[in-house]
């Protein structure tokens, strides 16, 4: 089956890694994944505007429903040449919901924008999917778009780590979550050692920091980071993410408040366990149990005496190495791209 992904890809964020993996794994399974568009500069992705050759259109929406590439007729061609029953919307950021405001975060700035988002998704397809086990709207089904690739796995070796903690990610509503982790580290900083944060918008305003956005979208406290001796590094290409995580003994898995609220998973949910690091899961136990299974519970940052957990990571790395191995096994079983593609092909074929 030839699946045409329609997605606004930015190669240093979001689902760029997923795009590449879907394409590679699909090929090995006798399917094909192509991206709609014709970028002007060379790309790692296989792009095409040949809509007629697609068996299905997978609209993957994150921050926008606008097409990244396409002329004035692009929408017309997509919607007229691919039947509705062969179109699927994957709503990665929980925007296919009423307007939600939660802990400084939001999915839409207004109810009007929420209504528009719902309208466009409903116009495209009856099949709306979100990467959560608990969609809010009754017509939304669960589909974990982001996947796990065992080929990412870096051999686990926790000796000679340069950093105690490495976090890779941009600051998009994530200051509160990161600050929560750093606050826990404060009393045990000596034991943790060097801390690195890799991404946009931590030691200076992010490029997207504009007054029209809520302050929580880009808020940061560079002075606090300096005081803690946190090393901030510029953003990296998605292919370097796992390598960078692997430089730390542990790497926190944090989400923006909206994603926590909607129990959404992201690409990072699955990348961190593949790195040569201990993923420290900063979500609710129920979410962790749902997504990662029992192995994940051992890696949850507890509410009570969380600093003890941090110290334990340093005291018993061998124990956590075994936990990560088990976690990887679970992820491979549940969330591999091959599983995802089989599921997607079935959804489209239904």
């Amino acid at each position: 089956m030839r699946l045409m992904f329609i997605h606004h890809v930015l190669e240093d964020r979001g689902s760029a890694q997923d795009m590449l993996r879907y394409a590679r794994v699909a090929q090995s399974m006798g399917h094909e994944v192509v991206l709609f568009g014709s970028p002007e500069s060379p790309s790692a992705f296989q792009y095409t505007t040949d809509v007629s050759s697609a068996d299905a259109a997978i609209f993957i929406f994150e921050f926008t429903t606008e097409l990244q590439y396409g002329d004035l007729l692009a929408w017309t061609r997509l919607l007229s040449q691919i039947p509705r029953s062969r179109r699927v919307v994957i709503d990665c950021d929980g925007k296919y919901n009423d307007a939600i405001q939660i802990t400084g975060d939001m999915n839409h700035a207004s109810t009007d924008l929420s209504r528009q988002w719902l309208e466009i998704c409903d116009s495209i397809s009856d099949t709306i999917l979100q990467p959560t086990y608990h969609p809010v709207r009754s017509n939304v089904k669960s589909f974990f778009f982001h996947g796990y690739d065992p080929s990412w796995e870096v051999p686990l070796d926790f000796d000679h780590k340069k950093f105690g903690m490495v976090y890779v990610g941009n600051n998009w509503f994530r200051w509160r979550s990161l600050c929560g982790v750093l606050g826990i580290l404060e009393p045990v900083l000596q034991r943790v050692g060097r801390i690195a944060i890799v991404g946009n918008g931590w030691d200076r305003p992010a490029p997207w920091a504009k007054p029209i956005l809520p302050e929580d979208a880009y808020y940061t406290d560079p002075e606090y980071l300096r005081r803690l001796g946190v090393e901030v590094l510029p953003p990296i290409h998605f292919e370097e993410v796992i390598g960078w995580m692997s430089r730390g003994l542990f790497s926190p898995v944090i989400y923006r408040p909206l994603f926590d609220h909607l129990s959404l998973v992201t690409c990072r949910s699955f990348e961190t366990p593949a790195a040569n690091t201990i993923p420290l899961l900063c979500q609710e136990q129920q979410f962790v149990s749902d997504v990662y299974g029992a192995a994940g519970l051992e890696l949850v940052l507890p509410r009570e005496r969380p600093e003890d957990k941090i110290l334990d990571l340093f005291e018993r790395p061998q124990h956590y190495m075994n936990v990560v191995r088990e976690l990887r096994h679970v992820l491979n079983q549940r969330y591999s791209y091959a599983v995802r593609i089989r599921e997607l092909v079935q959804i489209v074929g239904d």
Binding site: T65, L72, S80, I120, S123
Partner: protein, 367 residues
């Protein structure tokens, strides 16, 4: 019945004028014609996004589907992204709510055809462009129409779309005409047709009196257009025009077209070679007979007879010396020829009025 048109909301474009006429006549007949577009303050068009009550959506396709008319300067204002600048959300709604059998395509420029090259004119740059346009139309609807009596493709049917409004008619008076001959229209592949007329007036230049061309790209080929399109679509010979004393005037607003035609005894009706080949009509097909002038048809007699009625064939431009004699005779006896024009007007009012067209369109929709 409620019909929604999808087209650029450009007040002065020919097809936009037609849509305004359809809206006017529809109201008189108890129907409604609107543009499918977000409401635009100050627009002459009634715009609506209410698809639920539409009996059909009519797509008016011309050559310019890929570019904002007038460039990107209107983007974000009148025009959003997507088909005809209606915005991608509205494109998505359109295709989700209006089933295929309630969509009609009017292919005004004969682009729903294989790539055709004729008399230096063409409908597509290459076969691939033709394939893309055909694929697009086929994906949208089974009801594809062209404004010609003789569509080339078997699945295309005839619907002339452009029409005649008797209210345009000016009294046929030929005293004190400022010009002997005037042509109103842009160059765009029309040099050959015009040159045929000019050759005919050369031997009788003194008797013709003042003659003028009103429109774009007659004084020079636009330097910013890349060859070979520049030479193909915009060829002109300003020295020749100067030598035979043809005045070149700036383009005029749409509402001045018929009055300006009326400043001359004669107005040639020219069609670009592609349109001639395909037998296509345009808005201009129906404007010239309403002016206070004698139309001189540069098309073949069969086409002229079918559109304007049999009497009109005597106004088909003849060949060689006969053409000069024919023009001279019109200039000498315009009132005689005015009777033919009156017959043409009667024929057009009966067969090609907007009311007739609208009824035809509603029949198509109702099928």
């Amino acid at each position: 019945m409620r019909l929604m048109f999808v087209y650029w909301r450009i007040g002065n474009a020919g097809s936009a004028q037609d849509i305004l006429q359809y809206a006017r006549v529809a109201k008189l007949l108890g129907h409604e014609v609107v543009m499918y577009a977000p409401d635009e303050p100050g627009s002459p068009f009634k715009c609506s996004l209410d698809l639920e009550s539409a009996d059909a959506v009519i797509f008016v396709f011309e050559w310019n589907l890929y570019l904002f008319p007038g460039g990107d300067k209107k983007k974000g204002g009148v025009y959003r992204d997507g088909l005809m600048g209606i915005g991608h959300l509205n494109v998505a709604k359109l295709f989700s709510r209006v089933p295929r059998n309630r969509r009609v395509i009017l292919d005004c420029d004969g682009m729903y055809n294989d790539a055709i090259r004729v008399g230096g004119d063409f409908n597509h740059l290459d076969a691939e462009a033709s394939r893309r346009r055909i694929e697009l139309c086929d994906s949208l609807s089974d009801k594809i129409f062209q404004p010609t009596y003789r569509p080339l493709r078997p699945n295309v049917r005839s619907f002339l779309f452009h029409a005649y409004d008797p209210a345009w008619e000016k009294p046929l008076e030929f005293d004190h005409k400022e010009y002997g001959l005037i042509y109103i229209g842009n160059n765009w592949f029309r040099w050959k047709a015009l040159h045929r007329v000019l050759r005919a007036i050369e031997p009788i230049r003194e008797q013709v009196g003042r003659a003028a061309l009103v429109g774009q790209d007659w004084a020079a080929m636009p330097w910013w257009v890349q060859p070979p399109l520049r030479e193909q679509a915009y060829f002109t010979d300003p020295d020749y025009l100067k030598r035979i004393r043809i005045e070149l005037r700036e383009p005029i607003p749409v509402e001045q077209v018929i009055p300006t035609m009326g400043t001359a005894v004669l107005n040639p009706v020219l069609i670009r070679p592609l349109f001639d080949h395909l037998g296509l009509v345009t808005c201009r097909t129906f404007e010239t007979p309403a002016a206070s002038t004698i139309p001189l048809f540069a098309q073949d007699a069969e086409y002229v007879g079918m559109i304007y009625g049999e009497r009109a064939t005597s106004l088909v431009l003849r060949d060689g010396e006969e053409a000069s004699e024919q023009i001279l005779d019109v200039l000498r006896r315009p009132q005689e020829y005015a009777r033919i024009v009156s017959d043409i007007r009667r024929h057009l009012s009966e067969k090609h009025s907007y009311a007739v067209r609208l009824q035809e369109l509603m029949g198509i929709v109702a099928e």
